[in-house]
């Protein structure tokens, strides 16, 4: 009887239930850096981790002086580790080490960078260091400005960024990597800002960004459209910083084999444990839901009258899979990911649990919109660090010739690519990890990933390109193009025959000339009409957050989090949490 009870309990424990409690997860993250396996890993992160654990203060001082003597590099990515060490090392580091640390803020000028994540790291670090040394003259700082001026400048930018984010949405929204770069400085401000108001703002912004991720994670995998992801994680959805944070914050999914540095710095600063309502939102997938968000583009310096364009996101979530999209177009430079279906798997490591298409677009116009690149060298300079940007077989990036419409777990994606466009074709990603694959005479492609059925109806002819590792690239060189994609859980269709039958019964009309257009009725009975270039819905009513768990009306400066009987209101007007 006891054995049976044990088995029942074991069966009820979900995968993430195996995760240790939050405090133990925190410790695990910090230990990774405090006791690195390789001798070459003993950098700033090791110092910060050891100081947090209260270990080897003498070693920390010595090592810090060694590192600083080598000359700082890394701009804001140098500033934030050193800021953490300055605060964690108070009363622990030797006067000599603290003097070296302080001196570096006079002798090294970090570049402020060209993205919001750069600036948040830069100004958070400057804020905290100016706070630590409050009465020093301009000659003591690389800026040439006295402490008070550095502090005011940093404080005002941080507040402006927060205000812009809660009223217009985040610019680098829902990034699978850079989520760490936003949580980290907010964790610093929560832990170390002396100003109670700034601490409160930081705490509320932490919850804001955590909740934003919580509602769009599937077992720790950040789903939906992203302002930025990367070539690896766009296919192997688990493999990035967001999953590491998902494991730390919510105990879901799988952490990275070596925890991300951002996760560690988050932990050693505030190490803030999400409130219960966010924890519930992150882990409850008992009912399907549709969640909508309004975000903004990054700053568009050229070619647009409005600095920040609007991004309309839709995400359908259920325990078996998620479907997410934006409205299409170039909303972010280089690393945008506009739509996909991502299905849940027990162990996502090494698994390409996603399906999507893109038009592989690259252009100087895109780069010059967001950056100051000179015309002749812009693309090459991007390709030096973002290798796939100008590749015809890439799977990353937005395109002005791609438009999207999503209702529930059905997506229509349309392409209208002008003749002469570089890379005049579309790429579709079909995973090696599909357990079922069928090209049906009707034109539909039926696949299964995990417990998700996916029906994919291409709008133009295509061929298959093999990829390393067994994935396949759907290649379609037709300029008027697109697909209708309908997902469904295996629980609703026990076999392929029933799913196929249901899909084949759905009304669908396709017209490609003169403009791609589709009329489709989804499995859930939603009539969808979509023509390239015409908004399929009234976006004017789109709110910052809208769904069963997160709601925020435009300009309300309030985010209401709900789950069951739990309710939490972040009121940025009054800086109160209720």
């Amino acid at each position: 009887m006891r054995a049976l009870a044990g088995l029942l309990i074991a069966a009820l424990v979900p995968l993430h239930g195996a995760a240790p409690p939050f405090k133990e997860r925190m410790r695990d993250v910090v230990e990774t850096y405090a006791h690195p396996k390789g001798p070459g890993d003993s950098g700033y992160a090791t110092i910060a981790a050891k100081l947090w654990l209260g270990e080897d203060a003498a070693w920390c001082s010595k090592r810090l002086e060694q590192l600083l003597a080598g000359g700082p590099t890394g701009d804001m990515f140098w500033m934030f580790p050193v800021t953490a060490i300055a605060y964690l090392g108070q009363n622990k580091l030797t006067p000599s080490a603290m003097k070296s640390l302080r001196g570096a803020w006079k002798t090294y000028m970090p570049y402020r960078g060209d993205t919001e994540n750069h600036w948040l790291l830069y100004y958070t670090s400057l804020y905290l260091m100016a706070q630590m040394w409050p009465d020093e003259p301009g000659s003591a700082w690389y800026t040439g400005k006295p402490s008070a001026e550095n502090f005011r400048e940093a404080e005002s930018w941080i507040k402006q960024w927060m205000e812009l984010t809660i009223t217009r949405g985040q610019g680098e929204y829902d990034c699978t990597h850079y989520i760490g770069v936003y949580l980290l400085p907010l964790s610093y401000l929560k832990a170390w800002a002396k100003d109670a108001e700034m601490r409160q703002r930081a705490t509320m912004m932490l919850e804001y960004i955590m909740a934003d991720y919580a509602v769009e994670n599937l077992d720790g995998i950040y789903v939906g459209s992203h302002a930025r992801t990367d070539d690896k994680q766009v296919l192997e959805k688990w493999n990035g910083v967001s999953s590491d944070l998902g494991w730390l914050l919510f105990g879901v999914g799988w952490p990275l084999p070596v925890h991300a540095g951002y996760t560690m710095y988050y932990a050693v600063a505030s190490g803030y444990e999400p409130p219960e309502v966010i924890q519930k939102i992150a882990t409850d997938r008992s009912q399907p839901y549709v969640h909508k968000e309004l975000k903004r583009t990054r700053h568009r310096w050229r070619f647009f009258d409005e600095r920040n364009g609007r991004v309309y996101k839709t995400t359908y979530m259920r325990k078996e899979y998620a479907v997410g999209s934006d409205q299409g177009g170039v909303l972010q430079p280089v690393q945008q990911h506009s739509w996909d279906v991502t299905w849940a798997v027990k162990d996502p490591r090494g698994v390409h649990n996603t399906l999507f298409t893109i038009h592989p677009f690259s252009s100087l116009h895109e780069l010059q919109t967001y950056f100051t690149f000179a015309p002749d060298f812009g693309t090459e300079s991007v390709v030096r660090s973002k290798k796939s940007y100008d590749s015809p077989d890439k799977f990353l990036g937005g395109s002005p010739f791609e438009k999207l419409y999503q209702e529930g777990d059905a997506v229509i994606v349309l392409y209208d690519i002008p003749p002469g466009t570089r890379f005049p074709h579309i790429n579709g990603f079909f995973s090696k990890d599909l357990s079922y694959f069928e090209e049906h005479p009707s034109g539909w492609i039926f696949v299964r990933g995990g417990d998700a059925w996916i029906a994919y109806r291409p709008l133009a002819q295509y061929s298959w390109m093999p990829m390393l590792g067994g994935d396949r690239r759907l290649f379609s060189p037709y300029l008027k193009n697109g697909a209708v994609v309908q997902s469904a859980p295996a629980s609703e269709y026990p076999d392929i025959a029933s799913f196929r039958k249901a899909i084949l019964a759905l009304p669908i009309e396709i017209k490609l000339e003169p403009t791609p257009s589709v009329q489709f009725t989804s499995l859930r009975g939603k009539r969808m009409e979509f023509t390239f270039g015409k908004p399929p819905v009234n976006y004017d009513s789109w709110q910052l957050f809208e769904g069963p768990f997160l709601n925020s009306a435009r300009d309300s400066r309030k985010l209401v989090l709900t789950h069951g009987t739990l309710r939490r209101e972040l009121d940025f007007k009054t800086l109160t949490v209720r």
């Binding site: 590099t73 890394g74 701009d75 804001m76 990515f77 090294y108 000028m109 570049y111 402020r112 960078g113 060209d114 993205t115 750069h118 600036w119 100004y123 301009g138 690389y142 800026t143 040439g144 400005k145 400048e153 940093a154 005002s156 930018w157 402006q160 700053h299 310096w301 050229r302 070619f303 009258d305 600095r307 100051t372 000179a374 015309p375 002749d376 060298f377 300079s381 030096r384 660090s385």
Partner: protein, 325 residues
């Protein structure tokens, strides 16, 4: 003996250059924000002592200018803002705040400092203590190039993404001045004739003004459909002008811009960011070659030799008057 030393000193002074070449540069290979930055920022040609790095290492210094009354104090258009670089570039102070970024150009006239940036144009009337936006009337505000008239300080010409704009009232109002639809990357005023201005553009070629920078007209076909990055008048020889760009390389005119000759023999590639005539040595022309090395010519570009700063992109070269104690 004392007389001999004095005479030698006088002779040395007579031969010493009156200007030093300053470069705004980045060693760009393998650098992205956050990576280790090779020597970059402000460099000064110290003659036999070679190139000297002045001030902080910085990946983004697009342009520099100085107040002619105090050329030891430079003003840099930098990624981090306007930087006042005193002591000939050694002592830096950031003069601007968090409201501007990635500055593109700068023009100084006495206490008045103008700069062009990603979101428009700003000006300080008090040497950089206070700043105000000065781009009213310009719809698309991204501004790449800017120059204050050396004879009329309220007259400024700016190169925006929609073409050249001019103000006659210190930035209160702006009007279109030509090159419509072309992004100007460099605006210069002739040292020989204050009424003559030139603007180098992306794809539109060269534009010329003969009415003191009020209106600009196409200067012919050179550089059309390519990018022209820089222009230099030879201060010692009226009528001699050099322009440079991506693919045209270096072009030199000896007749005031009526005809142009390519001067690329001996250059490793035709991708040239900046050119500058040496005001102390007639015909001596400097050219910054994309990620290769700065090159110098003693014969206005007919022959070239290497002159240092390997691997660099030099956005701007400026000769700054020497100030001797």
């Amino acid at each position: 003996m004392r007389s001999l030393v004095f005479l030698l000193s006088v002779a040395a002074l007579a031969q010493a250059p009156k200007h030093r070449l300053h470069t705004c540069m980045v060693t760009s290979k393998d650098y992205v924000v956050g990576a280790k930055l090779p020597p970059s920022g402000l460099f000064v040609n110290a003659g036999t002592q070679g190139w000297q790095h002045r001030g902080f290492n910085h990946p983004y210094v697009a342009a520099l200018d100085f107040d002619t009354r105090d050329p030891q104090t430079l003003f840099l258009a930098a990624g981090n803002g306007v930087i006042r670089a005193g002591d000939d570039g050694r002592e830096w102070k950031i003069l601007t705040g968090n409201d501007v970024t990635e500055l593109r150009d700068i023009s100084v006239k006495g206490e008045t400092i103008w700069f062009a940036h990603t979101a428009g144009i700003a000006v300080s009337r008090d040497g950089g203590k206070n700043w105000s936006a000065a781009d009213n009337g310009i719809r698309r505000k991204y501004t790449e190039a800017l120059l204050v008239d050396r004879t009329e300080p309220e007259h400024v010409v700016a190169g925006t993404e929609q073409g050249l704009f001019v103000t006659e009232d210190g930035g209160r109002t702006w009007g279109a001045a030509g090159a419509a639809g072309y992004q100007a990357r460099r605006i210069v005023q002739s040292p020989h004739d204050a009424k003559e201005w030139l603007a180098a553009t992306e794809k539109g070629g060269l534009f010329r003004s003969r009415d003191g920078g009020k209106t600009f007209e196409s200067g012919g076909n050179i550089g059309v459909d390519r990018t022209l990055y820089d222009i230099s008048y030879d201060p010692a020889k009226p009528g001699r002008i050099a322009v440079c760009g991506w693919d045209p390389g270096v072009l030199v005119s000896e007749d005031g811009g009526r005809t142009w000759q390519p001067r690329n023999i001996g250059l490793p590639n035709p991708w040239i960011w900046s050119v500058a005539f040496d005001p102390d040595q007639p015909g001596k022309l400097w050219a910054s070659v994309h990620e290769d090395e700065i090159h110098v010519s003693d014969d206005a570009g007919k022959t070239w030799r290497r002159a240092g700063l390997p691997g660099s992109i030099i956005y701007r070269m400026v000769f700054v008057p020497e100030v001797r104690p």
